[in-house]
């Protein structure tokens, strides 16, 4: 792969989710040169894995289609997938960046025809569905994957499976000799749109995510509800494939807790309210959702949605931090124990399925970032000491999609200010010379 041309007038955007795509596109549509790097094989990030958005219940892939079309139509954006930033040196207006590109084992010749996928029999856990099902080891990450190019999983490289994939390709697109590459770039400013990951639910011991099949996370529940998900959009619980009509949502699973995440993740209340509507949509009047919460944080016009859900007879609210979950061995139902703080009643309530509204943890937590980056106590990116690098979207703060895009648009302008300043400085130094 040829290294892209970049100068101190180039903006580097790290992360190809909706925030990164936005930051890149806003600058590119202003005439600036942008390099967008994404560590996964396709753009889209976590929003692509959501079934619907609150409060409009529209589909995230609709916006993804628009953003992908903007990228396809704009020569100012250079997209590099399976690429991570390993080092940033230099200073505001003049950074040297080192990128590491993982081998895809499929080159630009790929047409997305799918013959390699047909030839391969090995399966791997499907990352797009959070491992709830499997996918062929030669795969297109999802139906809207961009670039529309297959990936050969490294686990089969060196095995006859990979050779089958290579043999099946008529276009010489499978390249099993690919190795990791390192690229050096010069850029003027860096936008970190590295996003978030769901908090590791297994760490919340009393909820038994690692012990009970029918305790799942909110991001997994999105995949269950999605027609493109592992169950074809049917809400079936993992232990026995039974329809999960009686669902409990536990708020602040990990969030607002100094033992786990000290911040409030902002989106989880609205996400659970939305998910109660998935249950209603699937089972009608037979649906039953219970939301266990501390505070319902339905800010600004989201209050309208909260009121709508409150009026839904299939949804019940219990103000309580659930103390622990036990298992009814007979039927596999999780049993929730705790105290309802509105009047202090103890409860032990059975549900078909428990959905933990897990918090947002910065994807970069625990990752070595440039020394210059300033993090807050939860590892969200506040900025850089030299003012040349910026956090955007949920890398900067736990944000919903709308606010993340807004944050990314702002970050894009801050990056433009940096390169504008260095261009102006260069111009004036030339004039002096």
């Amino acid at each position: 792969m040829t290294a892209p041309i970049a100068t101190n007038q180039t903006i580097l955007v790290v992360g190809g989710g909706i925030s990164g795509m936005t930051a890149a596109l806003e600058a590119a549509e202003c005439g600036k040169q942008v390099i967008l790097v994404e560590k996964n094989p396709a753009l889209g990030g976590r929003t692509a894995q959501l079934y619907r958005y609150f409060p409009k219940m529209c589909h995230p892939t609709c916006g993804l289609e628009i953003n992908l079309r903007r990228i396809k139509g704009n020569p100012n954006v250079r997209v590099m997938t399976m690429t991570e930033v390993t080092a940033v040196t230099g200073a505001r207006g003049n950074y040297d960046v080192t990128l590491k590109m993982a081998p895809r084992f499929v080159n630009e010749n790929c047409t997305g025809c799918g013959e390699c996928g047909k030839a391969v029999t090995a399966q791997i856990p499907n990352p797009f569905n959070y491992g709830l099902d499997t996918i062929k080891a030669a795969y297109l990450p999802h139906t809207m994957a961009y670039p529309q190019r297959y990936v050969i999983d490294p686990s089969i490289v060196g095995t006859p499976e990979a050779d089958k994939a290579k043999a099946a390709c008529k276009f010489d697109a499978v390249d099993l000799e690919m190795t990791e590459e390192t690229v050096q770039l010069k850029v003027g400013s860096v936008v970190w749109a590295t996003g978030w990951r769901p908090y590791d639910a297994a760490k919340i011991q009393p909820y038994g995510y690692d012990r009970f099949d029918n305790v799942i996370t909110s991001v997994e529940f999105e995949r269950l509800a999605d027609p493109h998900g592992p169950t074809g959009g049917k809400i079936l619980r993992p232990s026995d494939g039974k329809e999960a009509k009686n669902v409990a949502f536990i708020q602040c699973a990990g969030s607002r807790d100094e033992n786990h995440l000290r911040h409030c993740s902002r989106i989880c209340c609205m996400a659970s309210l939305k998910q109660t509507q998935y249950v209603h949509e699937a089972f009608g009047d037979d649906a039953s959702s219970t939301v266990y919460y501390i505070d319902i944080r339905a800010i600004d016009r989201f209050e309208d949605f909260y009121k709508k859900v409150q009026a839904d007879p299939t949804v019940r609210f219990v103000k309580s931090k659930v103390a622990r979950i036990a298992l009814n061995e007979q039927n596999g139902n999780p049993v929730l124990h705790g105290v309802d703080t509105e009047g202090y009643h103890r409860y032990a309530t059975e549900h078909d399925l428990v959905v933990l509204a897990v918090g947002m943890e910065p994807e970069v937590k625990g990752v070595q970032l440039p020394d210059d980056i300033i993090l807050d106590s939860s590892s969200f990116i506040e900025g850089s000491k030299d003012g040349g690098m910026f956090g955007a979207g949920s890398a900067a703060s736990p944000l919903d999609v709308n606010r993340a895009v807004q944050s990314a648009t702002a970050a894009s302008l801050k990056a433009i200010q940096v390169i504008h300043k260095s261009a102006a400085a260069e111009k004036s130094s030339k004039e002096v010379a």
């Binding site: 010749n109 276009f171 027609p227 409030c264 600004d300 106590s377 302008l413 200010q417 504008h420």
Partner: protein, 747 residues
């Protein structure tokens, strides 16, 4: 001008050549498509294939080309030829991957592919290479309306990126609401204490910035024009008017606190009951010392009543939550605790809403001894000792609290100007000669913020609860008035930190709007698009449908009621083209002809062949991708359909429907986005428009002696891959039951 040269390139890759008769397709392109150059290639999207096309363009003078291979959504970069007009015939996702396998389907599969080649050739023959809006203008200055924190941030953001800014502020000083705050909520770690506002420093920066011109005591008298060429008449205190030419606008007109006097039951208007702004004034006066009431008595106990007149279910007050008030009350409670830890401070809340790191600020308040009570206040009595009647939601009982001072956390009311829905009603009545309406219209115009000289009204449309927000989750700045962006609490309730971020984002969009306008390009969501609408005015009947139906206020009328296009306001959706009854509006590469000729290019078998033909007109952003992805997932559907992507269902002109019916199609499926309150159409009402227009087509059908089922409209989401296949097959069955169209053979 050099001559047009047409070429078709047929890709045989991805199995196309194995299953379809490519030489036959070439022949169709040549004989029926009338393409001068026709070539096939085993792997068209690779370097060699693309180079072949490039050579033909550069050396052989090809100007128009049809690429028959994969969908237009695939390999877009490989098949990008900026100097040629390009159509794509979708043989892979649209034929190969969706028609059932097996030789018994060879005939219908081949017919489908041949039709798509005919359509692709017909389309490109009618296309012109877009040249960009000829009326482009390149003023890149940004007008910022409002000199509060949002406006000042927008101004500084644009100016620091090298753009000139004109800032208009109606009062005599910069700073807005925030200028009257004692301290602000912290924006950065450690989120423990109130912070200095920094407003004075910001105002000084704005005043000193060489790229910013500030008009104080000034309002807008009129704003006319379009992105790249707005003219703002700025009315000064002296009565003089200064004209400022600008390229884009940021509206940062802020909010007004909800009037506390509207809350008499919560003590509004009574002694020692203040709103949050009132408490800031007391804190400023105390300046770090003990906070005293208006009567001079030092406050020893204070209750903050959250959601005062907010989250209201009675319909009398604000139904929404203003988002910032919980953190603001926490900050204000700290004013008391920091000055004197012995002051009793109670925050009475229903849901404490401090998202993100606000949680740390909340913890800090708890450490400082602020009490948080989950309760709902029903009555506040002011006076020397105020009482708050409330329901304790934890103990589930009615109880009372007393305090020296009660602070009501009232909400933000946007300073958004005129509600355009009301305006349209009043304006229509006024235009009809209603004198009362005329007076009302004048009154409305006087409260307008922007005073836009737009046919569609003087301000930007409001979304919910009077805020100027975007309707779209993925695109918070997707406004309905191109080049005008709302920022801060006028867009959505928000705190200062968010407002500053928001202002930077709006400034970004504003400078981008000027850059796009200068190049004659569309704005979001078709930012790459150089096409623009033009009208053959000699054919225009001055019916005004285009001006009325344009969702973006892009079309004005001249004194003879002819449409006047403001191309740089236009979003290129084609709603005007769909609306025009005499079909005089078109884009270079998207017109009544580019689609109409595709419809006519399809070969319609006679009725005895029992092969119905169904036209699909699919929204290119949602329904068409769903059809494509059905292909990607190898979902099989009928080979009798012929799909054409349209920019928006709003652009569908009824002539396409009548032409299709006249030429013997058996049925038509229109697929668009969700309509209604939660509409998903990025051109606002395309889908709704299509439903409306099609509701009128029934008469036409009856005149033609056709069943109404022959024209159908569907809401299709981008995730409906499986559903589109089912919809198609069910429709084919339905049409089979009705029987073939009697129009066959007359077309």
């Amino acid at each position: 001008m050099s001559e047009n040269k047409f070429a078709a390139y047929i890709c045989a890759g991805c199995g196309i050549g194995d299953v379809l008769d490519v030489p036959a397709l070439e022949k169709i392109a040549q004989k029926e498509g009338k393409m001068t150059v026709v070539k096939s290639h085993p792997f068209l999207c690779n370097e060699e294939g693309v180079q072949m096309i490039r050579d033909d363009i550069e050396k052989d003078g090809v100007t128009h080309l049809c690429i028959a291979g994969c969908s237009r959504r695939a390999k877009a970069e490989a098949f990008s030829f900026p100097t040629a007009a390009v159509s794509r015939a979708n043989l892979r996702e649209g034929v190969l991957w969706v028609v059932a396998e097996g030789s018994e389907h060879d005939e219908v599969r081949q017919e489908m592919a041949e039709d798509y080649v005919r359509m692709g050739c017909a389309e490109v023959k009618k296309m012109k290479l877009p040249a960009g809006n000829p009326a482009r203008a390149d003023n890149k200055r940004v007008l910022v309306v409002g000199g509060g924190v949002s406006g000042m941030t927008a101004a500084l953001s644009a100016a620091d990126a090298g753009y000139e800014v004109v800032l208009v502020e109606k009062t005599g000083q910069l700073g807005g609401f925030a200028a009257n705050l004692h301290r602000r909520v912290p924006f950065a770690s450690p989120y423990a204490d109130p912070q200095p506002t920094g407003v004075e420093e910001m105002a000084a920066k704005v005043a000193d910035h060489p790229k910013i011109t500030v008009h104080l005591n000034a309002t807008l008298a009129e704003t006319a024009g379009a992105p790249g060429r707005f003219t703002a008449k700025v009315a000064q205190e002296s009565g003089s008017v200064v004209e400022e030419a600008v390229g884009a606008i940021v509206q940062a007109t802020g909010f007004t606190p909800y009037d506390i006097n509207k809350l008499p039951e919560l003590g509004g208007g009574q002694a020692n009951v203040v709103d949050q702004a009132g408490l800031e004034a007391l804190a400023q006066a105390a300046n770090g010392g003990p906070i005293k009431r208006a009567d001079g008595k030092e406050v020893k106990s204070v209750v903050f009543v959250q959601c005062a007149g907010q989250r209201d279910e009675t319909g009398q007050h604000l139904p929404y939550c203003s988002g910032h008030c919980c953190a603001t009350s926490i900050k204000q409670a700290m004013y008391f605790k920091d000055a004197n830890p012995d002051v009793d401070t109670v925050v009475m809340y229903q849901d404490l809403r401090v998202p993100g790191m606000g949680e740390d600020f909340y913890r800090s308040a708890q450490q400082k001894g602020v009490i948080f009570t989950k309760g709902k206040a029903s009555k506040v009595s002011g006076g020397d000792s105020c009482t708050v009647d409330f329901k304790d939601l934890i103990l589930d009982e009615d109880t009372q609290a007393t305090a020296d001072l009660v602070v009501l956390a009232t909400g933000q009311v946007p300073n958004a100007g005129v509600n355009l829905d009301e305006w349209t009603e009043v304006n229509t009545a006024a235009e009809g000669g209603d004198e009362e309406a005329k007076a009302k219209r004048d009154e409305m115009r006087s409260v307008s913020v922007l005073k836009l000289a737009y046919r569609q009204g003087p301000d930007v449309p409001q979304f919910k609860h009077g805020f100027n927000d975007s309707h779209f989750i993925c695109f918070p700045y997707e406004t309905r008035r191109t080049g005008i962006y709302a920022a801060g609490p006028v867009r959505r309730p928000m705190d200062m930190h968010q407002a500053m971020e928001d202002a930077a984002g709006a400034a970004m969009k504003a400078i981008q709007a000027t850059e796009n306008a200068a190049q004659g390009r569309a704005a979001h969501p078709r930012a790459w698009d150089l096409s623009y609408p033009s009208a053959r005015l000699e054919g225009c009947t001055q019916c005004k449908r285009c001006t009325v139906e344009c969702p973006f206020g892009a079309i004005d009328e001249d004194e003879k009621r002819f449409p006047v296009f403001n191309e740089s306001r236009c979003r290129r959706c084609g709603t005007c083209m769909g609306a025009c009854p005499v079909r005089v509006i078109s884009f270079e590469n998207y017109s009544v002809d580019t689609v109409g000729s595709q419809i006519k290019a399809v070969n319609i078998p006679d009725e005895f062949e029992e092969k119905p033909r169904i036209l699909i007109l699919a929204c290119e952003n949602d329904a068409y991708p769903a059809l494509d992805m059905a292909g990607l997932q190898r979902r099989v559907y009928s080979a009798y359909v012929r799909a054409i992507p349209v920019r928006c269902l709003g652009s569908v002109n009824t002539i396409w429907i009548t032409d299709a019916l006249n030429s013997g199609y058996d049925g038509i499926m229109m697929m668009g986005c969700k309509k209604g309150d939660d509409y998903q159409c990025h051109f606002v009402k395309g889908s709704e428009m299509a439903y409306y227009r099609m509701s009128k087509i029934d008469d036409t059908l009856k005149q033609l002696g056709l069943e109404t089922e022959r024209v159908t409209t569907h809401e299709v989401a981008i995730t409906d891959n499986a559903r589109v296949a089912t919809l198609i097959d069910e429709y084919v069955e339905q049409l089979n039951a009705i029987g073939p169209s009697p129009m066959k053979g007359f077309g």
